[in-house]
Amino acid sequence: MSISTTLPPVAAERTPDYAVLFQREFPKVVRTVYLVVRDHGRAEELAQEAFVQLLMHWKKVSGYDRPEAWVRRVAIRLAMRSSTRERLRSVLERRAVVEPPPGEGVDLSEALGQLSAPQRAAIVLHYYEDRPVDEVADILVCSVNTVKSHLHRGRNKLRVLLGECEGDLDES
């Protein structure tokens, strides 16, 4: 496919840059989004949506220092929204399931799935992508203290779920 003939006219002149950025960043964004939503198919859809938005705003965003940060922020926001929606949807289902008591049969992967979307996003960006707290705050569009709070509460909740310590699971 000739990209230059299929892109919208506005983005056409920047096509090589966009294509390069897409090839480089798309797999990374999918992986990060996957860790938040925990569903490969949904992660690809959300990442794709973020890149569609990037292409539609390419004229403006291509002038930024790091366009990849823009698309990542959009992707994370979409992922958090989707994850929150999914969590609410599953509330009734989870009530019907007898959950194992903390520390019994819960591994770290499952425990991560029980964090709230902002906590999970903060943990993924900080521990998986190795981003400093201020950068995480920038991506999540919140304050540094809020990110610290998400990380702290997230870790505490994981410890409780893993049975490393007693605590209140409803603090999130």
Partner: protein, 235 residues
């Protein structure tokens, strides 16, 4: 091993098998973006067509405060004896909800004074109109027979020596469903008001005078008409 270390390892292990083909996805992204842009253009074009069509049938502009009032008549200055052919006849197109008698009750004159001062005039300007009145009353009669006219009276309702502003009988025209232009016969001045009829009450707001501003005293008199909502007293 610390929790932080466990987290790093677990997240890396979970993300490891996730592979995606950016090549195939790029085509889809481009197609979706093109489609959305086409839809956006279509929406904008439809909105423009709607606006143009609305303008073509003469529906009113909504931004009353910031627009120039179009001449109410086809010539300027307007015919002081009555309205010439209006550019767009709102009286027949829209129901003229103003027709009939409207009056305020006796309202405290300080309320009128406050309204006059709120319009940027002085206490002395208010006193010129109100004199010693404690209560103030206004009556406006809108009628269509013989061309739309409005008769306006305002007077001291305190029961003291009668203080009355001369009765005015002037032609008016609607230049929109919520805007009327009153042409003063005496001075060939057009006064623009916005109005609202709600719950049997008429709220009038004086916007401006053309072709030149009114004197302070005349402005105070006009503000006195609009200081309180008028209730319908007859049709």
């Amino acid at each position: 091993m610390s929790l932080e270390q466990q987290l790093r390892e677990e997240l890396s292990r979970s993300a490891e098998p996730i592979r995606s083909d950016p090549g195939g996805r790029l085509d889809e992204v481009v197609r979706t973006a093109r489609h959305r842009r086409r839809v956006q253009r279509l929406v904008v074009a439809s909105a423009v067509v709607a606006v143009v069509a609305t303008g073509a049938v003469g529906l009113p502009h909504l931004d009353v405060a910031n627009r120039e009032v179009p001449p109410a008549t086809s010539t300027w200055p307007p015919d002081p004896t009555g309205l010439a052919t209006s550019v767009f006849d709102y009286h027949s197109t829209f129901r003229d909800r103003l027709t009939g008698d409207w009056a305020t009750g006796p309202i405290p004159s300080r309320r009128v004074r406050v309204a006059i001062k709120a319009a940027g005039l002085t206490d002395a300007d208010a006193t010129d109109i109100l004199k010693d009145a404690r209560l103030w009353q206004t009556r406006m009669t809108f009628q269509l027979a013989g061309g739309p006219t409005v008769q306006t009276r305002a007077w001291d309702a305190s029961g003291g020596p009668v203080q009355q502003i001369p009765v005015e009988d002037n032609p008016y025209t609607l230049i929109g469903p919520n805007t009327l232009v009153l042409t003063r016969r005496a001075s060939v001045t057009q006064l623009t008001f916005t109005y609202r009829v709600q719950g049997g009450r008429l709220f009038l707001h004086f916007e401006k005078a053309q072709p030149r501003p009114l004197s302070d005293a005349a402005t105070a008199a006009v503000i006195a008409w609009t200081a309180a909502p008028l209730r319908r007293t007859g049709s």
